[in-house]
């Protein structure tokens, strides 16, 4: 019972981080048609920027987190303006490859600046635990759940209640019609990249809190959020959140169960469960849980 509750909390925490990364993927993809794998770069760079601003330069953790989100939003806009915009807007394959290039370059740059070894992030929670219902739960997990929740709500409010969000949704639903209404698709592209960069930085930071620490392995985390994106349906923000939470829970519970139930599968098995779930879902329902089957016209 203790294990189950602890795993539930850590699953929701990891899942929440996946959810906001996947949300970033979905928003960019639905508005621009680009699968932005550079999201992994912002997850990584965001975590290290928080480390630099907070632990190294002594800013309070909250300020460091916000600062890193802003900086990553700026970086994402730079990547979009300086690189992606130069490609043909219809060439989505080239765009994917270009964002992989950005991911790899930033991974190498991060390793050059901050080293390859894992480091403590310097978050205020460390290894502290609080007791909920007689069970010790990591404080960092609870804060991660809370901050992810706030960011998810903020993103949805932004999408549903602001003019900018309306422009993004309009572009996602029909770009030509949106242009006819006076919406600038390039502005929408910039906004989605900025939002995705900011939430990725937060996700990266939150994923390295507590006992985990920051390392360049974080870049791979963005790839773990990809199954969450497809699971929910590639263009459904709500689906991304549900998919992310589901993936986090599945992964953490697998990690809990494997040593007892099937030790032969090994500790690494939890890492591939998101992909196995993804494969199952795609075989049964290729459009994802909340996606709609695309109707292609000539």
């Amino acid at each position: 019972m203790t294990d189950v509750l602890q795993t539930l909390v850590s699953g929701v925490a990891v899942g929440g981080a996946y959810a906001i990364v996947a949300l970033g993927f979905v928003i960019v993809f639905s508005a621009t048609g680009i699968l932005n794998l550079a999201q992994g770069a912002f997850v990584l760079v965001g975590a290290y920027l928080t480390l630099q601003l907070g632990a190294r330069w002594g800013l309070p953790f909250g300020v460091a987190l916000l600062g890193s989100m802003v900086l990553c939003a700026v970086l994402a806009v730079l990547v979009e303006r300086l690189l992606l915009r130069r490609l043909s807007p219809r060439d989505h394959g080239a765009a994917v490859l270009l964002t992989i290039g950005v991911l790899f370059v930033s991974e190498a740059v991060v390793e050059s600046i901050w080293g390859v070894e894992a480091q403590r992030l310097g978050d205020p929670w460390g290894l502290d635990t609080v007791t909920v219902l007689d069970v010790a739960v990591a404080e960092s997990d609870l804060w991660t759940c809370l901050i992810c929740g706030v960011l998810i709500v903020a993103t949805f409010l932004g999408l549903q209640r602001t003019r900018a969000g309306l422009a993004v949704r309009a572009t996602a639903s029909d770009q030509e019609a949106a242009i006819a209404q006076g919406i600038d698709p390039r502005m929408v592209m910039t906004m989605t990249f900025a939002a995705a960069g900011a939430v990725a930085a937060a996700a990266g930071t939150l994923l390295s809190t507590g006992s985990i620490g920051v390392s360049s392995a974080l870049a791979a985390t963005a790839f773990s959020a990809l199954p969450a994106m497809v699971l929910g349906g590639t263009t459904s923000p709500g689906g991304a959140v549900v998919g992310g939470l589901l993936m986090g829970l599945v992964q953490q519970f697998t990690a809990l169960l494997v040593p007892d139930v099937a030790p032969g599968l090994g500790a690494r098995f939890a890492g591939v469960t998101p992909y196995l779930v993804l494969l199952l879902v795609l075989l049964i329902r290729p459009q994802g849980l909340f996606g709609r089957r695309a109707v292609a016209r000539f």
């Binding site: 989505h92 080239a94 490859l97 290039g101 790899f104 199954p227 098995f269």
Partner: protein, 379 residues
């Protein structure tokens, strides 16, 4: 010369034979001769270590040729090529070392196994559109990483396993061709494989199958409407690409004689993307040029870490001066290549060559027009 109806059959106005027209056969014979000289002459000219690097280039070219068919012709963006290469490598290492399989039987088995696995992946892939496919192929890499690390009895886990299997076929040892050292023979064997597969890929491009795949790449629905079996061709492209990948895996294992899961991870996957993007994704020649250039450059840099200017830029051990650890360099280099080439010449080297050719052809035309004009004036 106002209104002369030009006709090819009228000897008076038959256009001068263009170089292309004149020399169909001559060119082919010449090309074959050049390739043969390169294939058999290179081993005599270079030292063994260079030949070994070039043989690795051949393996990467072979893997990239699979992507030429799958991504270049059929337009299916797949990152999973190293997974199939890994399957081929581990399969041949296990059966070759533990069960002493003959290398000919191994080759057949590995190609068939790669093809079947690829067809299975294709069966899933035909249900997916572009980006989901890319994601599923990332999933395959992650799954391969797990499998190669976990299935210790076959793969040796993260420490890797020996792949020193014999390359003898009925008395002829492919690793020691008559009068050649190991590096020389493996160079010849690997590049012969590349040559054969490249010829097949080139033939496919010019046949019905290649045209069908390219039609699918350009517009799937339109291809379906004109009667192309999209599903079958996609699955076929996956099977072919994976079979070629598995063959590359066998050669990789034979060259390296020891394989670890790190040989087939995401970094390798992106290295392959860089190779096909740099060379040009839709031509067999692109895969070959890309492999030579990208893998060659990586090898060249890592063998010159301690000399200028890399000693100042790269640190080869903890505490060494340098901007970037050598371990990160491969990541950095492949990423940078992707960015630069995609922005500057998305068609890669082959596209650059085609552009240069058009430019030269346009000079030629201009010169001819000027000449014609002068002839008219004088007559």
């Amino acid at each position: 010369m106002a209104t002369v109806v030009r006709s090819d059959t009228d000897p008076a106005v038959r256009p001068r034979p263009t170089p292309a027209r004149r020399s169909g056969v001559v060119r082919r014979v010449l090309a074959a001769a050049v390739v043969l000289v390169l294939l058999l002459g290179t081993p005599l000219y270079f030292v063994d270590s260079t030949l070994a690097t070039l043989a690795y280039c051949a393996v990467f070219a072979l893997g990239a040729l699979g992507l030429t068919i799958l991504t270049g012709y059929a337009g299916q963006l797949s990152i999973a090529q190293p997974f199939f290469i890994g399957v081929g490598a581990y399969l041949s290492a296990y059966l070759g070392v533990e069960s002493g399989w003959n290398v000919l039987a191994l080759t057949v088995l590995v190609v068939v196994a790669g093809g079947v696995l690829g067809a299975l992946a294709g069966l899933v892939a035909v249900r997916l559109s572009g980006i989901e496919l890319a994601i599923v192929s990332i999933a395959l890499i992650a799954f391969g990483d797990y499998l190669f690390n976990q299935w210790k009895s076959v793969t040796g886990g993260e420490n890797g396993r020996s792949a020193a299997f014999s390359l003898e076929i009925g008395g002829l040892d492919l690793a020691a061709l008559p009068g050649m050292t190991r590096s020389q023979s493996l160079f010849v064997v690997c590049w012969t494989a590349v040559l054969l597969v490249a010829l097949v890929a080139r033939a496919i491009r010019r046949q019905r199958a290649g045209r069908a795949m390219m039609a699918i790449r350009e517009h799937e629905r339109a291809a379906e409407v004109i009667g192309i079996d999209v599903r079958a061709y996609k699955i076929g492209a996956f099977a072919l690409a994976s079979a070629i990948g598995a063959l590359a895996g066998l050669l990789y294992a034979a060259l390296q004689q020891y394989i670890t899961p790190l040989d087939f991870d995401l970094n390798t996957a992106v290295l392959f993307l860089a190779i096909v993007v740099v060379g040009g994704v839709d031509r067999p020649l692109g895969a070959v040029l890309g492999a030579l250039l990208v893998y060659g450059a990586v090898q060249w840099v890592s063998s010159h870490v301690d000399s200028w200017p890399f000693d100042a830029l790269l640190s080869s051990f903890q505490g060494d001066a340098g901007l970037m650890p050598i371990g990160s360099f491969l990541t950095f280099f492949t990423g940078l290549l992707l960015i630069v080439v995609l922005l500057w010449e998305p068609q890669g080297l082959v596209g650059l060559g085609a552009r240069a050719k058009r430019r030269i052809a346009s000079w030629d035309v201009a010169a001819r027009l000027r000449r014609d004009h002068r002839d008219e004036e004088t007559s």
